[in-house]
Symmetry: C2
Subunit: 393 residues, 2 copies
């Protein structure tokens, strides 16, 4: 699972720390008395937990609470802007991206380096990039609580192994072993969907689809990522949308990625880059319009499958598809209506993501933060060993 | 949700009754002392619950427990064979089926009547069939706790409304309103998958696919039915396996049902019935073999989608597909291997259902029983009103 630590023996201390920190995250600028009311814990317990969270710079004290009427004004607390940060790294086919977020999910630094990663040297390159990202955090004077890594491939949730990343030429890659440290590794589309859940349209149920060189999807059901039985669910890049179509890099024919991926759209439109394609679309170029409509048809066939199987009421277009949304929308909706019986009584909602092409790396960084918020005691134990003596069972 | 009652304010009494009855179902022939050990409830509580369950004939006393060593031998209890029964009704396109099961899930009576149900008279016919099935139960001297109805269509879980059953020509049909009583209505493929879960291969995660006139699938993840966001999930009949193929009755083209349904296989093979087809296959008839292999290819395209999206490790072939399994197996597995990247490290298991063509109606009857076992207190309240005074909060 992404974004939460594996279930374990949670002590009362762990539970209370998570409860109080969660209440602070939900209502920044609350007094200890307010937290007591919000959590049902005694003021003494809240104060003790808050003091420890302040000690580890997870929480910071702010201006005294404004209050109308009598009574002592309590000092308010909020998530600390200098506290643990989450570092996200995305290994794209032709770029590396990093993103550093604070406890509130605010982006503090980001970087992108373009280069073809379809080379064995990619691991050295990622290692150097990671060092550079850590230096950014040092320069900002903030600690890094953990690193989330987004990869364009299938990740087995039990092992963290990248089972298959065809566009990178990877098979059974153990990043922890290759890079000498542990990460939260997940499929880039899953991280992008989580970023959309945390910072985007606020829909509880949606499929997030983004099209770059590969096509990835992340499916969110009831505000949680749907990962299938063994963590490799939500794979839509190789849905067969034209089973007798041209061969795909995976060995099958007419996969969604082959028929509606960025490379195919650019090829059909005779454009070099997505910027060129958009200029052509804006200028009313016929070939460009036909290329996007053709891709929209294939995307509609593939997404109809997802909607029919999951009964999911909304599609969020991310990445390059978000940029192409004005031209994709109508042909895509038409194909969905034709192929999804349930649109007769409940139409599919089509939403354009506001997160842009950096959603995946933001989700990777955010997953680290969500893990700290879900179990601050674990962060205290692993990052503040000097606090050891103060800890009980 | 099928098989359990909607969540409500469960009292301690409700909880204890379900706990004790569940322990009896799991270990028939257990003494009150054994139930106390199994549930953690006091012997006094267990005795009081058991007495009430015996009073309503949910549980029956049997032979004294055999015991080696000293101590009083306790009387053992089991689910009562004359207790509440579940009645399942299946409304097929060309048949009506009924099935009566006891608390252990054992089939006590079943009936099938063949007739084309694509007529407005279907509701009268179902009503008469239901009366006849109830008379069977009366003749056996057993009470009917409820009726599950399996339909070949999309059922909205919140309303119980049959939103769409194209092969019956139904749109927004309220069976409770049409027939003047309430039922547990669900898609036949979902009921069939539950029957497979309860009485079949004992797999925790699988997709059950059955092909008759329509093609239905039920998806079981972690021993529970996956119904998608609004209860209409798992629809695979209209997955586009040949998007530019011949028109389907739904208005789209090349749907799985159109390309790999029973009618298409028979047409391609030049056979009248499934029995004829199987005779031809056994005789080594070429046209029959090609027809089944062609359908297997399309089925592989459709199922690859399900496996890629859900990461589900097993496919159970039910209904007509179970009968055709020896001829479907190889071409189907080949297509799955070609289309599902994860087969490289974890092959898809293909299992033939042992439940035959009556799985759906058995699941419909079983859902009633599961609901009684999950909340016996509700059954006592609604079916044994004379017990009213004995009940607390």
């Amino acid at each position: 699972m992404i974004g939460t630590r594996p279930a374990g023996q949670h002590t009362v201390r762990q539970h209370n720390a998570a409860l109080v920190l969660g209440a602070i995250a939900d209502g920044p600028g609350t007094s200890r008395a307010g937290l007591s009311a919000a959590t049902g814990l005694t003021k003494a317990t809240v104060s003790s937990v808050v003091d420890r969270l302040i000690g580890a710079d997870l929480v910071a004290e702010g201006e005294p609470e404004r209050r109308v009427g009598p009574g002592r004004r309590g000092t308010v607390v909020s998530l600390s802007p200098t506290g643990p940060h989450g570092l996200g790294i995305e290994i794209g086919v032709d770029y590396l991206a990093s993103c550093l977020v604070d406890l509130t999910g605010t982006v503090r630094a980001e970087e992108v380096r373009y280069a073809d990663n379809r080379t064995p040297r990619v691991f050295q390159r990622v290692s150097a990039f990671l060092r550079s990202a850590r230096k950014q955090a040092e320069a900002l004077g903030v600690p890094v609580a953990g690193v989330g890594v987004a990869v364009p491939g299938v990740v087995e949730s039990s092992s963290g192994l990248v089972r298959l990343a065809p566009n990178l030429g990877w098979r059974d890659v153990d990043l922890a072993d290759r890079l000498g440290e542990t990460f939260t590794v997940a499929n880039e589309a899953n991280f992008a969907a989580l970023a959309e859940l945390w910072h985007g349209s606020a829909l509880p149920d949606f499929v997030h689809v983004s099209g770059e060189i590969g096509i990835g999807a992340g499916i969110v059901l009831d505000r949680a990522l749907f990962e299938g039985v063994r963590g490799a669910g939500g794979e839509i890049g190789h849905l067969p949308v034209a089973p007798d179509g041209p061969p795909c890099s995976c060995g099958a024919n007419g996969c969604l990625e082959r028929m509606a991926g960025q490379e195919e759209i650019l090829r059909l439109a005779g454009a070099e880059t997505v910027d060129d394609l958009i200029s052509a679309l804006e200028a009313g170029n016929d070939a460009a319009a036909v290329a996007v409509a053709t891709a929209a048809g294939h995307l509609g066939v593939g997404l109809s499958t997802v909607v029919n199987l999951m009964d999911v009421p909304a599609v969020v277009l991310g990445g390059t598809y978000a940029r192409l949304e004005p031209w994709l929308r109508e042909p895509l909706l038409a194909e969905l209506e034709r192929r999804v019986p349930s649109t007769a009584w409940s139409p599919v909602r089509l939403v354009r993501s506001s997160l842009g092409t950096r959603a995946a790396v933001r989700g990777a960084a955010g997953a680290v933060i969500r893990a700290v918020l879900a179990d601050p005691e674990h962060y205290l134990t692993t990052h503040w060993p000097s606090d050891q003596d103060a800890r009980g069972r």
